[in-house]
Symmetry: C2
Subunit: 198 residues, 2 copies
């Protein structure tokens, strides 16, 4: 193939949609680089700095906001999450694809960017749980949170789901294997787009 | 999945690109309906009316031109080829995808259509042979044509190849299996596009 520019996949969807698992697997199988986010929330057991997130203090995070280093950032459930522009651009310019596991607010910020490398690379996709019943089952299924936390997360998920029409692609979640196969088709198809070839 | 409207794939590429084999296989495997073209050329051995082409007399073909029944038509190597609008629309409206194995002139006519069902369904892709050397090999390899015919076809193929930048997608041909897998990814990815869902 002729050299091509990398594609930036914005992957949104409510908690329980399976989007994080999909993005991780794309990265694990070498289909795209998983852009590691910065966050001010505390690491959960097993999470590692530089692998799962860049864990920053609130002061560090705000310093990077002021310095304009974030492609997007948002406050969710009282914590900051954000993606460094440099993380994304470097990968795209090497001709590699990037997946961003990102909430709807963050996706809106990325779309509003004036950085042309990012603008031309954008493909956004919303992962939808198959039904409200299945979503509740998935959110409850973790078994690690109180009823109150589950209720709040369900409410947030339903609100998040209302944003799907802003996206170009939508994947209605089925089994993980189905979801992954369809997501990978999207990636492979988009690579044939002529504007991405030099 | 929610109901969706069908997609119309315009598949162009020079003789020797393998586009016809790709389109046939998509149809054979039920991925998309193969839109059968009308032609005024004589059937080759083994070709059947209504399966390979609708074989029309020149008078019949011109009658349908006058009646505005063609989505596109063209004269190639002294013969007429064309696609009936009704053939395409009926399939799209049932939510099924259509592949049109079409030359660059025909593709330009389809793009210029004012029929909104067709306009909204369009995805065009150009199949490129991997190199001029390989193209010549493929065109010669048939062994059924004279040197003069091969030379003419090579010239036509090279001219046709210059039109690839007018297309949205480009598939650089490798092995048939590679080509088919990538083509199928494009189809499956495009089905996730939100504008196609009701």
């Amino acid at each position: 193939m002729s050299p091509r520019s990398g594609i930036l996949y914005l992957v949104s969807g409510p908690s329980g949609s399976g989007k994080t698992t999909l993005c991780r697997r794309l990265s694990d199988e070498g289909e795209a680089s998983y852009a590691i986010s910065c966050t001010t929330r505390s690491p959960r057991p097993g999470e590692e700095n530089g692998t799962d997130y860049f864990f920053l203090s609130i002061e560090e995070f705000k310093g990077k906001i002021t310095a304009g280093e974030f492609l997007e950032y948002a406050e969710v459930h009282g914590n900051f999450y954000g993606t460094l522009t440099s993380e994304v651009i470097n990968t795209l310019e090497q001709g590699n694809d990037v997946v961003l596991d990102i909430d709807v607010q963050g996706a809106a910020q990325v779309r509003a960017t004036e950085n042309l490398t990012v603008k031309n690379a954008l493909v956004d996709i919303f992962i939808m749980p198959p039904s409200k019943e299945e979503l509740l089952k998935r959110l409850t299924g973790r078994g690690t949170d109180s009823d109150e936390v589950v209720t709040t997360r369900m409410k947030n998920s339903l609100e998040e789901m209302e944003h799907w029409p802003k996206y170009t692609f939508r994947l209605l979640s089925g089994t993980h294997e189905e979801d992954y196969a369809r997501f990978k088709s999207l990636l492979h198809g988009e690579r044939l787009r002529i504007i991405r070839h030099h």
